[in-house]
């Protein structure tokens, strides 16, 4: 069978997928670029060409800079916490103890719980009048009065981060655990014989095996955290006083609540560019880490 026929056949087999992808991803992306250069409304007017006006207006607005810093803060803190908690949980699950298999099975539960259900659950836990967190903390005498955890700008973002971490650290733990189980036993045993302490064994023997998979988890989680919408929408809708508004929520408000399709599109592309830069930077880092660990 000739190579050209193989290639032609491969393209034919991929055709349905590619056609659909162009229809639901390629075309909308191109159209978003076109819209971002117009003052189009969501419904009605097609809009006029306005050049880069939308971009300059969005980039210089205080809404954008504030939302960017909120999103970055959310992404950095929640992903860092998920990584640390995930690795600690994986180190624990890599020990031998009774009930280990059951505990490992439990780790799948937060991951499988739908994001919206998770957000709803934590919203109920944080409720100011009858929420479980207030009840638990007062019954333990840690606070005197019920507080509105999601209602105050000072605590709302932290409360969201806790809810996000609870759902996502088990996934990091499972990825890290799979990597830990790939560490050959004789290597850890040899390090022990050579007199390496627990910290040195982790740093020089185990970490090189973890680095690659953890970097991949880090990249995926950071991209997801940067795009965050669902959990924030359900728990606070970006409030109070916009203190938990993420970039995706800002785009939603601009394009759909205020129906300004043009400027919404420009904002969406700015977010896309940020995520892409982040991903490419990370991909380079992953390649380097994988190279040095091998």
């Amino acid at each position: 069978m000739s190579g050209t026929w193989m290639t032609t056949r491969a393209w034919l087999l991929m055709l349905p997928l590619l056609v659909i992808m162009v229809a639901v991803i390629g075309w909308p992306l191109v159209d978003t670029v076109r819209l971002s250069l117009t003052d189009a409304q969501l419904v009605g007017t097609a809009g006029n060409y306005v050049g880069f006006d939308n971009y300059t207006r969005m980039l210089t607005s205080s809404n954008f800079t504030r939302t960017l810093s909120t999103t970055t803060w959310f992404a950095v803190v929640s992903v860092a916490a998920e990584m640390v908690l995930g690795v600690l949980a994986a180190l624990l699950l890599n020990q031998e103890f009774r009930g280990r298999a059951i505990l490992r099975g439990l780790m799948i539960l937060p991951w499988a719980l739908p994001t919206v259900v998770n957000a709803t659950l934590w919203r109920l836990i944080y409720k100011p009048e009858y929420g479980a967190l207030n009840a638990a903390l007062t019954q333990l005498h840690l606070i005197d009065d019920y507080r509105s955890w999601l209602g105050e700008p000072g605590t709302a973002l932290a409360a969201l981060i806790v809810a996000d971490c609870w759902k996502n650290f088990p996934l990091v733990a499972l990825i890290a655990l799979a990597a830990l189980q790939a560490v050959p036993r004789d290597i850890t045993a040899a390090a022990l014989v050579d007199g390496a302490g627990p910290f040195n064994r982790f740093r020089f023997v185990i970490l090189p095996y973890l680095a690659g998979p953890l970097m991949v988890a880090l990249v995926l989680r950071t991209i997801e955290a940067f795009k965050v919408f669902d959990i924030i929408w359900v728990m606070t809708r970006g409030g109070p006083a916009n203190s938990t508004r993420s970039l995706s929520i800002l785009v939603y408000q601009e394009a759909f609540s205020f129906q300004r399709a043009g400027s919404g599109a420009s904002l969406a592309l700015i977010v896309t560019l940020l995520v892409t830069v982040l991903a490419v930077a990370y991909a380079t880092l992953v390649r380097k880490t994988a190279g040095s660990a091998a």
Binding site: T7, R9, A10, W11, L13, M14, L17, L18, I20, M21, V24, I25, P28, L29, D31, T32, L42, L92, G99, M107, I108, L109, P110, A112, L113, P114, T115, V116, V117, A119, T120, L121, W122, E129, A132, A135, A136, W166, L174, I175, A178, A179, A189, L192, G212, L214, M215, A217, K227, W233, V234, L247, S248, V251, Y252, A255, A268, T272, A279, V286
Partner: protein, 281 residues
């Protein structure tokens, strides 16, 4: 092997109990809320365990009596099942030939890489034209329209999983069948697809989980019982004027049951699927 001191063993058990508590406490509370009488949930100090378990909210939500809370809930349950089912089926039908093609002809692999790179795109970057397009096609607030949009999420993922699956089936087996005179379709039917069946099943379950979990597009593109999915219905309940936390919690438990059961049953396959990308680095 390292000899474990009793102190270390005790430490491991304490940590394990702590981890189990962290994972289970919020989930247990969701369930307890769903079976606690409303008065218990509004008591101060809060009653952590109901005096009498009350399962009536489950019946209330699953009843199809007209204009009840149940009617809206069961409609969204049906919509979620329909959308997830259709989108998954379509994603698998696209993914099997495409995944096989990339696996057997690596020179076209760059196109799959491009498809997978779309994972980075925030849905908001596509949402405005998709909204206008669906509106133009008359597919807003329609389960078919929503299922079509879900392919943006499902199809790249299933194709990637199918490709890795086909990679692990030696091409020599297919070559042998072809030498014996079988055509491509026959080879697929007799050799490739039966061997790939477990991967197809795993991919399909992953796709169902993704579709079941989706919220953003469903929020944008559906507006009433004809197409609203469970995630939107629950967000409505959580953000609305419903004062009975127990009812909201019950809806949460019901929506969480299918994915959690899939997660538990498919544990091994899910973990290897989740980690395969990671471990290969």
């Amino acid at each position: 092997m390292e000899r474990k001191s009793p102190v270390f063993t005790a430490f491991v058990y304490v940590c394990a109990i702590l981890l189990a508590a962290v994972i289970l406490a919020p989930l247990a509370w969701l369930f307890v809320m769903s079976i606690s009488p409303a008065a218990d949930l509004a008591a101060k100090p809060l009653r952590w365990w109901p005096q009498a378990a009350d399962f009536s909210r489950y019946g209330q939500l699953l009843s199809t009596a007209e204009n009840s809370a149940g009617a809206a809930f069961t409609a969204s349950l049906r919509n979620s099942l329909e959308v997830a089912g259709m989108a998954t089926l379509a994603a698998i039908l696209l993914a099997v030939p495409a995944g096989w093609a990339v696996s057997r002809t690596p020179s076209v692999g760059w196109s799959l890489s491009m498809v997978i790179a779309t994972y980075m795109l925030p849905p908001v970057a596509l949402s405005v034209p998709l909204y206008m397009g669906l509106s133009w096609l008359g597919l807003l607030n329609n389960v078919f329209g929503l299922a079509l949009i879900y392919l943006t999420i499902l199809a790249p993922f299933t194709t990637w999983l199918m490709k890795s699956g086909f990679d692990s089936i030696p091409r020599e087996i297919e070559a042998a069948a072809m030498i014996d005179g079988a055509g491509l379709l026959q080879t697929w039917r007799i050799i490739t697809l039966p061997l790939a069946a477990p991967v197809v099943a795993t991919s399909a379950l992953f796709a169902v989980l993704l579709a079941w979990d989706e919220f953003f597009y469903a929020l944008l593109f559906t507006s009433d019982q004809r197409a609203k999915t469970l995630t939107v219905a629950i967000a409505d309940l959580a953000g609305g004027r419903v004062s009975d936390y127990g009812l909201i919690a019950t809806a949460g438990v019901l929506a969480a049951l299918p994915p959690v059961l899939i997660g538990l049953v498919m544990q091994r396959a899910l973990i290897s699927g989740l980690t395969s990308g990671g471990v290969k680095g």
